[in-house]
Symmetry: D2
Subunit: 320 residues, 4 copies
């Protein structure tokens, strides 16, 4: 058989690096209310993950003057893909910065670069998969921490939803061609112009959504999502958030992605978190992206049923 | 950039072709009780799928003298992978039979061949994705049929679980090397010898399990699984099956795969069906297969909690 | 011991008699979508009940020129209570009409009378408890029909919610003193004047709510509620209603009563139906009614979380 | 109208007083794992209740040489019923001991006496309904504590299940005639002799079950049950108990009472706890007790579906 030569590929969403103007509140929110576990703290950065996340961290939180997303980390499929992505990006004129192994705790050598939309991405391959300490460790060999230890208690990180002032077709095409994302569903406006794309490299409907809005700051994050196993868990989350008097939108069900949701904001940083479940998986290699017109979006696509309110203050991605 | 040359790959489990000695009972069970939709009937073969399955069929049912599994269909990742797999298999001395487009309704050109374990696999790429007729069609653009029309109403096919008298390491290595399956979890017996492997080509923990048992017929199918979105749906299934006086095992939760289950048999053919939910997804490209000793399997691995009964009569795969 | 002499008492909400201007649509809605079972039809009146209702009917539907509630039936605690209530009511100047056994199918001798608010109540004791026919009968000895046969499939009738232009304190006091209802929770307006009372004769928080609104027709019904066992069942109902394009409000959770809800209207008659679950039970004989100020009502009392929309067109109770 | 004279009545199950040979373990189990709240500790007795229990305590735990149930408390319907019950019992030759107000923390004057089966009952009317302290208090006016603070987190006490060596018909008749319990469902053995009765004074199917077994100690408690709102909550409980390696039986669904269950034992005292949900309510004053033959009990009555294992070591009620 011939030797196979593969294009570099992204395997999955790895983590989000959050800078918060109120570290104490953000830690309270993510650890006590959402119920993430803290792997460890290194030099003031708190490395968190959900009970079912295998890697060292899926959310890092660091104190800062203002709140913003420092970067979004993606795991490459093969170790050599990191350098191959670097080469591809530099060939295309993108500035690439190498991050030494250990500069981000638990992580091997990685690269960081900015999308044309200004969002900063990181690509890594090596990442520690630390076990939980004895008292928090699951009795199951395929699960890191015990579930249900505190708060909402989601299983794992699910996806990110980004906002840009850029033309949607342009940035989505970039993500498809440069990073290998596949477009799964998309929304067009009244002029039949694409304004949102839901994309994935996995069997999820989306690892990332990119929403174009003329009015937004050049680059923003609309939300980071954590996955729960059951719709009922979303209702329990609603009870917990209500008792803590942390306001939220939902529950409801999206038509696009078929997912049940609650949106709640970290009171420390303003980062919106989607508590997310159900949805569907795409196994088809010949998937045809599903087009939603704005009319369809308003009827069924955005909110299939449930709470239809919106709140529109989003967190900036990459500090100005 | 260099031109990339890819090994042929399997994208997903496609369908199971069941032959039943009691067509009427099997159709009652799968259509009325499980609640699969019938895409159409062609020459006595009934092509069924769940409400969230996109392709033409995920289960076909045909009348026969005895009940058995005729073949298990897998969708290739690219159209050319079908011929590439044929070439690879023939090079390795495996007999490959070409199935003309349309010989199996809805399906393009495909190949069929037998595993060393005697199970017959089919690999195809082209498959119709018919819409539902108006009265059964979902109002959602990303969903084929309305959910909850009848019976248990699972979303989609999930996986197959096969049994063999062959050495487990041998057959699992074959599946890894020839077809690209990745081993996710495995069980060893008291002599530290591998006896079951859970494997996938997708982000699921398993698209297929292969269980070795010296006592079984050369090749058997332990079960086919259908996915539901919520644990509560499994409990509703238990109510429905109890009311219909169709016996079942469960509900319970597996440690391996972390899935909630019910096992119920088609009274027509004897084919065991797992109604399956929760579980976890594997996004890590550097996943280390999780080893379960027999002691761990008995404690947590097989039944983490719930109904621990077993029934051991399985359906033959491929007619003798 | 002395012989005990008991005041007449109401044991439970029995049924609602609906007149609809579109019988076909109302039957489609209640039988196919909500999934009530039809006990039988007598002289054009369809007698329905949920799968877990024991008595002959909990909802009757009859065609009429306009849609309205003909009467609301309550079951007395003892057979002699029917006549005792008649005597009490007549002594208080209320006109009482006797309904002969069988005039309403399945029912023994009963009385009908109008509340000061104009709502027509019926009190009966004897009511057939017919078994289901063989094909629809539950395998359980304590359950009438198989659950999950069709549509939303609630277990039983739960409560009624009435509207009046009358002073709330007056009508609630009447219901307490004449019929023995206990006040469980109540709402006052900005002037500290009671405007809604939730009342029960059972351990439920409410068998009946009475809401006073100056603007309403003298007597109206806001909704009739059916009970489901699990919150997840409400979400399944939302899927079913959405697929049938029957609009609804919810899901959400009330603070008052702590119940999860969906409100959906019968497209035939306009009668609003609450699909209702969770809530709490009151076993305390020394229960102090819980007072909600309008501010508390707006914050947590009405909608604790979820869909906060309201629709305000209600069905008339008793034909003008 | 004539003055009404009422027989004394029991309104509800109040609490269970547990003596444990391992206080530390019992407190860990009931507070950390089951997730009951501690109202307060008085003289070494810990007064606990679930987040939705209104009265001062529903379970009290005191250290002792051996583990046993000291008494089971029932709340009378009216204050004067306590003395009226005392009079009735003494007239029937039963020894009645008066408990002074405050002798049991939070409680007013009460009586204690032994059933013919040897189980010790307490009847009280006055009981404090303390609010929760600020940090644990629910934001809802009709709920005491925030839900989901710790562990399984049931809403409220539900029922007790007692065992006796006495003839079942005799003891059930006693409970009906002396204390006003209504028989809801019952089991007969192969000789058509009643062996178990499920009884209630509320709309629940049972506030108490009494099971006769020739082999048991004269008086035992099989279990105390706590209620959860949803079936899904039982599955979450199974996860939590499994992670804590506290063995349990279930989940499953009883035919009798139609309730989903898990049975788990307090490792401190050996008291079995049923985590209980769903079930049905009985509003009918003319309810005919449902008879289950032993054959029906084995088929559907005991375990309708799910885990059918039994464990048979029960805790003694009243110290020998």
């Amino acid at each position: 058989m011939e030797k196979f030569i593969y294009a570099p590929e992204i395997a999955k969403l790895g983590h989000v690096a959050l800078v918060t103007e109120n570290l104490e509140k953000s830690l309270w929110f993510f650890k006590e209310i959402i119920g993430l576990e803290e792997t460890r703290e290194v030099n003031g950065t708190h490395y968190l993950r959900a009970w079912g996340d295998f890697e060292h961290h899926t959310l890092s939180i660091t104190a800062g003057e203002t709140s913003y997303i420092d970067h979004i980390g993606w795991k490459a499929k093969r170790r050599e893909d990191v350098a191959n992505f670097a080469r591809l990006l530099e060939d295309a004129g993108t500035e690439v910065r190498w991050i030494a192994a250990g500069e981000e705790a638990g992580q091997g050598e990685a690269i960081r670069f900015e999308l044309p939309s200004g969002h900063r991405f990181e690509i890594y391959f090596d990442m520690e998969k630390p076990q939980a300490e004895e008292s928090r460790k699951s009795v199951l060999k395929n699960q890191v921490y015990k579930a249900w230890a505190k708060g909402v208690s989601p299983r794992r990180i699910d996806h990110v939803n980004l906002q840009t002032a850029m033309d949607n077709h342009l940035i989505v095409t970039y993500l498809q061609e440069t990073l290998g994302f596949k477009l799964r569903e998309y929304l067009v406006n009244a002029d039949d112009k694409q304004v949102v794309g839901w994309m994935s490299v996995t069997n999820l409907v989306h690892d990332m959504a990119m929403m174009s809005k003329p009015s937004v700051e050049p680059n923003q994050m609309h939300h980071i999502a954590f996955w729960m196993d059951n719709a009922q868990d979303i209702l329990r989350a609603a009870d917990i958030l209500s008792e803590q008097e942390v306001g939220f939108v939902g529950p409801g069900k999206h038509g696009i992605s078929q997912a049940m949701f609650i949106y709640v904001k970290d009171p420390g940083s303003g980062l919106r978190v989607e508590i997310f479940t159900n949805s569907y998986l795409i196994f088809e290699p010949d998937w045809e992206p599903i087009k939603w017109t704005y009319k369809e979006y308003q009827k069924n696509g955005s909110t299939y049923w449930g709470d239809r309110r919106r709140d529109d203050v989003d967190i900036q991605a990459v500090k100005a």
